[in-house]
Amino acid sequence: MSENNRQKRMSIVCWSGDLDRVWPVLILSTTAAASGLEVNVFFTFWGLRVLQRNDVRVTGQNWMQKGESLVDRGGTDHLKLGKIHFGGAGTKMIKKLADDYKVATPTELLEMAKDLGVNLYPCQMTMDLYGFTKEDFIDGLGAPMGAASFIDMAADSDITLFI
């Protein structure tokens, strides 16, 4: 296939673990993959916690990394709103509304993303910063990579988003 009629590509940076950012990341990723695009999502900084297994509570090697994991619980079941969280009440309300209106949860969308072949890449530098090991993450991820690898993907993409 020549470069002109190759498969369209979309590359997204997911830098935050806030529910209000992660939800659109996953909605757009699944929809783009469903529409035949090759999709790459680079999870970096606080976004890396999206890939954490829901049943893993403490991550990190030293007390600072472990402490950080306690105050910022990872996993798609535990994401909080970046605003109007209101000590949990706001997040609980939007999840209730989503359930009533049959909007898929981040956990369901992440499963669909994997099923549709979305490439999910953890950031190697943030893994080191937080003291993450591969065992802390869900299955089915791409190999951890750095900024240069993402730039290389983004440079050949038709759509790039930073959400």
Binding site: I27, T30, T31, A33, A34, K102, L116
Partner: protein, 80 residues
Amino acid sequence: MSSLAVDPDRVLDCRNLSCPLPVVKTAQAIRDLESGQHLLVLATDPGFAQDIKAWSSRTGNDLVTLTEDGGAYQVLLRRN
């Protein structure tokens, strides 16, 4: 459904589901069909008529018919 020109090979019920589920489930369902087979999608998402047209033209799967009755959509697709 009796008014359909073709008997669908599969029916996908996406009624009451919100974006992006009807489109994503359609894409997942059509993978299992052979080229030329038909998928009937039932949906109630008000954005679905617009979205499925965009999806069909983007993926090259034919949108054979799209009917709406009181907010309920029936979309017949043919796998490319």
